[in-house]
């Protein structure tokens, strides 16, 4: 392979992995703490993409400043929706069979897909161009936006690490994920922390959508692919582990991008082969803990 193409694809894979990390860290976080498999996580990602598109393109016109505002808007809107979903829709289901949570989050996919269609129409919404300039590499271009995205993903990773190891809230959230019962006996307000965790996870999905939309066009149903790849990521890395989501994203991102060039037949297939092999031999993933049923 031409070395320039290799470099471009390397950054391409890094970009894809960064997006995956932003989506799947939220998914993993929600699963790790609340033991809820949020099937609507992809739909939240889609919503984030539309919000950023609206703010940055339709309202403000593209600039770095408006991109930043658009990201903030995406995070706030989707996190707000997350709080609504957790407080109003999921809370009554905590003492019911777990299948019902699954059914509810699946119903949310249908609902959110159509709400997006109502507001933005069914057509695809694409950025006119990728924000920022590009670095030429031979005949190819690497958008500076790719590199910024990688920094955003790393920044978020470090923030989450700091949050979970250094802040009181973060420590309480981790305590909950070990044992809900003991934590509430010790006086932790588990109710409020559930809302916080879900909002944080949803906000990350919103940010992921915002960051992805300049490259990956916003369309209803774009969440369907994203969510299943995120499942692969968190299973490979280990459910509930941020480091796992990081490494898992890199594995999935790179295997997809490079397989697409080398052996297109296995572009997507390889990801699921890795996922299955990991599950069979190390079900807790590369960095995961033993999973427990919630009590």
């Amino acid at each position: 392979m031409d070395i320039n193409l290799f470099i471009v694809q390397f950054f391409n894979a890094l970009f894809f992995a960064s997006i995956l990390f932003l989506i799947s860290s939220g998914l993993s976080l929600i699963y790790g703490i609340m033991k809820i498999l949020n099937l609507a996580h992809g739909a939240l990602y889609m919503l984030g993409a539309y919000v950023t598109f609206t703010v940055a393109i339709l309202w403000l016109g593209m600039s770095w400043y408006s991109m930043l505002l658009a990201y903030l808007a995406s995070i706030l809107v989707v996190a707000g929706l997350g709080i609504f979903i957790e407080r109003v829709l999921l809370k009554p289901l905590y003492n019911k069979p777990q299948d019902l949570q699954l059914l509810l989050t699946f119903a949310l996919i249908f609902i959110l897909d159509d709400i997006v269609k109502m507001i933005w129409g069914a057509q695809y919404r694409a950025f006119p161009k990728i924000p920022g300039w590009s670095i030429p590499v031979g005949d190819y271009q690497i958008p500076i936006y790719f590199i910024l995205t990688v920094f955003i993903a790393i920044g978020v990773g470090l923030f989450l690490h700091w949050f979970f190891t250094r802040t009181t809230y973060g420590k309480m959230v981790r305590a909950i994920s070990y044992s809900l019962e003991t934590s509430s006996i010790l006086g932790i307000n588990t109710d409020r922390l559930f809302a916080l965790s879900f909002a944080l996870g949803a906000g990350l999905a919103g940010l992921a959508g915002g960051v992805a939309v300049p490259l990956y066009t916003a369309s209803p149903g774009m969440g369907g692919d994203a969510i299943v790849l995120s499942f692969a990521v968190i299973v490979i890395g280990g459910m509930g582990s941020i480091l796992g989501a990081f490494v898992g994203s890199l594995i999935v991102g790179f295997s997809r991008v490079f397989m697409a060039i080398l052996f297109p037949v296995f572009e997507i297939a390889l990801i699921y082969v890795i996922m299955a092999v990991i599950l069979m031999f190390r079900p807790t993933g590369l960095f995961g803990m033993e999973m427990r049923e919630r009590r």
Partner: protein, 310 residues
């Protein structure tokens, strides 16, 4: 006789009699939809062997529906085989996939099992998309011949097979094998201590359940005349789970009616409004709160209420 006091069997027979008569009063379009409903019901019943009766949640059952549908379509359209050989091809394909994925997935239970089945199903999906020469890729396979071509006659063919298999499922879960499934579901450790090979029982349940899905897929391909990779995507696996839950996984009647209800709601939502997904989603969400044990749960409550009054 005990069998005469089985509410579930009564409900099934009444429902099946209703389904035998109703096409006489429906348009061709609706008979077609009802055929799809029967197949969804059959799929839910098959899924429920594994889910409701063996206690394992698979997130990849779309792969067996697809194995049936694609096996038949490839045989009929791509290889020009006669129908019997095509059906045989579909079954062989299903059997191989079911035994291999079942054997490997059943290393685990619960969420890990669900994720493994999801991984295998997505692997099959990825292969269907990429192996264009065999599967038609994104576009799928068109021009699948239907026999008998008349939609009402085809409905009765579907009906007979579905009725037979649904009643068979009702019977199977009452045989020693079916009781074995339930023993494994309720307490795998005790079942093991009693000398059962738990993993083998689960595998039998898995393959049996895959067979049901495959039959549904085999009947679906000619009904629709065309198949696309959508039927292998994870959302379809999720729909199989969802319709079983909305009907009620407690028994086979619940699962069967779940499939029919899902198609009914879906169709009504599509006819009513452009935003059918929103309508469907809201109805599904409402069912979560109003009927947490599925539609059979409501039936049970009504029956209890009536008996309580007497």
């Amino acid at each position: 006789m005990k069998i005469l006091r089985d509410n579930e069997l009564y409900s099934l027979v009444v429902l099946l009699m209703f389904l035998a008569v109703i096409p006489q009063f429906l348009s061709t379009y609706n008979v077609r939809l009802l055929s799809v409903g029967l197949l969804y019901g059959l799929a839910a019943v098959g899924f429920n062997i594994l889910y409701g009766y063996t206690g394992l949640i698979s997130f990849g059952h779309a792969m067996f529906w697809s194995a049936g549908a694609y096996g038949l379509a490839i045989g009929l359209v791509k290889l020009n085989l006669d129908p019997v050989l095509s059906i045989l091809l579909a079954f062989t394909l299903t059997f191989i996939i079911a035994v291999v994925t079942g054997y490997l997935s059943l290393k685990h239970t619960e969420i890990y099992f669900a994720m493994l089945t999801l991984a295998f199903a997505q692997l099959i999906y990825a292969l269907i998309i990429k192996l264009r020469d065999i599967t038609g890729g994104d576009e799928g396979i068109y021009g699948i011949p239907r026999f008998p071509p008349d939609i009402e006659q085809y409905y009765y063919l579907v009906y007979m097979i579905v009725a037979l298999l649904v009643l068979l499922a009702w019977w199977i879960v009452r045989t020693p094998l079916g009781l074995g499934f339930q023993a494994v579901r309720d307490n795998p450790y005790r079942a093991e201590a009693l000398g059962m090979d738990v993993r083998r029982v689960r595998l039998i349940s898995f393959v049996l359940s895959a067979f049901y899905l495959s039959v549904a897929g085999i009947l679906y391909a000619p009904l629709n005349r065309a198949i696309t990779p959508d039927i292998a995507f994870w959302t379809f696996s999720a729909i199989i789970v969802i319709m079983t839950i909305i009907g009620g996984s407690k028994n086979m009647f619940g699962a069967f009616i779940g499939g029919l209800i899902f198609i009914y709601i879906n169709t009504q939502a599509m006819n009513l409004t452009e935003f059918w997904q929103l309508t469907l989603g809201i109805i599904l969400a409402l069912l979560v709160y109003l009927a947490p044990y599925g539609v059979v749960g409501i039936f049970d409550r009504v029956v209890e209420y009536v008996r309580g009054r007497r």
